[in-house]
């Protein structure tokens, strides 16, 4: 473990910069979909579904359904953008484009490359979280300025989901195999982490199961922050996310090294 951490250096930023350059070169393609995403979600779930749903009790007060799911949708965007960057996008760079191989003939180590990819995945989460947040602030769905704390949380949780994604990237044999983690992991989290309904409406056993899903911690933390309710639970939930990020980062560094260098 010491050896792995020793091999990570500030040079990881070079990989981040490479991805950022590519992102800027195609910024229109990269920028428009995440910007439209919150509008679509809010339209479908908030306005469409919201007509059928009454106010929700949160922290013993009644809030509109739109206000309830808004922060949940921020969390989903953070998860998706981090996870998909280090799965599909990293896999294309690693497997089809041999970008990693090329970088490895420079002073960067494999650990630098993988960690740089994680930082970039987390940055994509941050961008996605930021765009969502701006839209929600615009529609007055979240408290301001306290909800700005969503930004650092986006980056931290971005590391969590990027590093989880990278673990899968280290083991899949072809790109179709990512369907498994998406179907078995991302979709259940999307549905059962308290994004669309309070966890308390679930039977008790299901609630316990839900607290094994990383997204549950993020949804809960972001909802409290966005609605401007500070509690120590937020810190606890963040600690869990940081812990998962740390473990998955170590794991994916080890597995990627094995995959690429044998």
């Amino acid at each position: 473990m010491k050896r792995i951490l020793k091999n990570i250096s500030w040079r990881s930023l070079r990989v981040w910069q490479r991805n950022y350059d590519v992102y800027l070169a195609t910024w229109k393609v990269n920028f428009i979909p995440p910007l439209l995403e919150p509008f679509l979600y809010l339209l479908a779930f908030g306005v469409g579904l919201g007509q059928l749903v009454n106010d929700v009790t949160y922290n013993s007060t009644q809030i509109s359904y739109l206000k309830f799911i808004g922060p949940g949708l921020i969390a989903v965007a953070i998860m998706n953008h981090g996870f998909f960057e280090t799965t599909y996008a990293s896999f294309v760079r690693m497997y089809y484009q041999k970008t990693f191989d090329a970088i490895l003939s420079t002073p960067l180590t494999i650990e630098d490359v993988v960690f740089g990819e994680l930082l970039w995945g987390a940055t994509k989460s941050l961008f996605a979280g930021a765009i969502m947040l701006i839209v929600m602030i615009f529609f007055n769905l979240v408290s301001f300025p306290f909800s700005l704390w969503v930004l650092p949380v986006s980056f931290i949780a971005g590391m969590t989901f990027s590093s989880m994604g990278m673990c899968f990237t280290a083991i899949v044999r072809n790109i179709e195999m990512f369907n498994f983690p998406v179907f078995l992991f991302i979709t259940p989290m999307f549905l059962f982490s308290g994004v669309f309904f309070p966890l308390s409406t679930l039977p008790l056993w299901a609630q316990y199961v839900a607290w094994f899903l990383p997204l549950t911690f993020l949804v809960s933390a972001i909802r409290a922050i966005a609605l401007g309710i500070f509690s120590f639970n937020i810190l606890l939930q963040l600690l869990v996310l940081i812990f998962i990020a740390f473990i998955c980062t170590l794991l994916c560094l080890m597995m990627m090294k094995k995959r690429l260098l044998k």
């Binding site: 070169a25 041999k98 191989d101 420079t106 002073p107 960067l108 180590t109 260098l261 044998k262």
Partner: protein, 310 residues
């Protein structure tokens, strides 16, 4: 510290170098040295272990046994330092298709921590050097195979390497492209760069390399200067006979000639050969005989056999 043997500085020193993938022995305890300012060639049939060997030199693969010292440093202990002083042209194209020609070089310069202004000057100089300046805003998939190869060479020079590792630099190029690459290599060699080169083209090895080793199934089976290898193993000339007539074989045995037999040909290895040629022509007909100079390909085929490798 670089080892200095007989005033020859050792840029690479491999001692009992080995690499195993699960149960495949790709490189089997090989010993060799590469000296400063020479062009060192690694030849061998498919799967001989050439790529594996050079990958260990540029610290992409870790040796599973033995010791490998590059530029005076151990590949296991100081890969970063080694990689910052060498250039690599891999066997497979790995240019960055997400970036333009110019950005491929610029971003690569950044991996080496070359400052912005210096990088700009360097990219410009290198693109002129390989004749791709007019293509600087093109995307990679708009380049021809030869242009990609030249861009990879330019990229490998971005950090002004002392040691340049080229894995099959001219495979797939047309004669023009091949000669351009050769000229580039000669030019760089003139400027004092050391080369480790792998190739399947014997004319390329004979033309460029000061010293070669022939590998087969992970072992080094021959080592020396191309000229000397030909002279010592083959002789100066070869008589090719397009026939598998056993009469001819009996004749050669009676004359104590060195020869090799394939399904369709006899190859006779001779010093001068004019006398033998006349005799064989008289006996068996002149249409089927020809005399030519011996070359590295003869050495290669003789030492590694004529069978295809799986």
């Amino acid at each position: 510290m670089l080892n200095n043997i007989n005033n020859k500085i050792e840029m690479v020193k491999a001692s009992k170098l080995a690499k195993t993938f699960y149960n495949i022995i790709a490189v089997n305890n090989v010993n060799f040295s590469v000296y400063k300012q020479e062009c060192f060639g690694l030849l061998g049939p498919n799967g001989a272990g050439k790529t594996t060997t050079v990958r260990m030199i540029y610290c992409f693969l870790e040796p599973s046994g033995g010791e490998l010292i590059v530029l005076g440093k151990n590949v296991l202990k100081n890969p970063r330092e080694i990689k910052s002083c060498i250039g690599v042209c891999p066997q497979e194209n790995n240019l960055d298709p997400d970036l333009t020609v110019w950005d491929n070089l610029r971003v690569f310069a950044r991996y080496f921590d070359i400052g912005r202004n210096e990088a700009r000057a360097r990219c410009e100089e290198l693109l002129h050097f390989v004749g791709l300046f007019n293509k600087k805003d093109s995307r990679i998939d708009e380049l021809s195979g030869g242009m990609k190869r030249r861009l990879i060479i330019a990229r490998s020079l971005i950090n002004k390497p002392n040691l340049l590792i080229m894995d099959e630099p001219t495979t797939g190029l047309d004669p023009q492209g091949k000669h351009q690459v050769w000229e580039t290599i000669m030019q760089l060699k003139g400027q004092g760069t050391t080369f480790v080169l792998t190739t399947h083209y014997m004319d390329e090895a004979a033309h460029l390399c000061d010293r070669i080793v022939i590998m087969d199934k992970g072992d080094i089976i021959m080592e020396g200067r191309p000229r000397e290898l030909v002279e010592n193993n083959i002789g100066s000339n070869v008589i090719e006979i397009y026939s598998s007539d056993s009469e001819i074989e009996n004749y050669m045995k009676s004359k104590n000639l060195k020869y090799e037999k394939t399904k369709t040909h006899y190859y006779i290895y001779v010093k001068g050969g004019e006398k033998e040629l006349t005799e064989i022509c008289e006996r068996f007909g002149s249409e089927i005989c020809s005399l030519r100079m011996a070359n590295l390909e003869d050495v290669f085929l003789k030492s590694t056999g004529r069978e295809l490798r799986e």
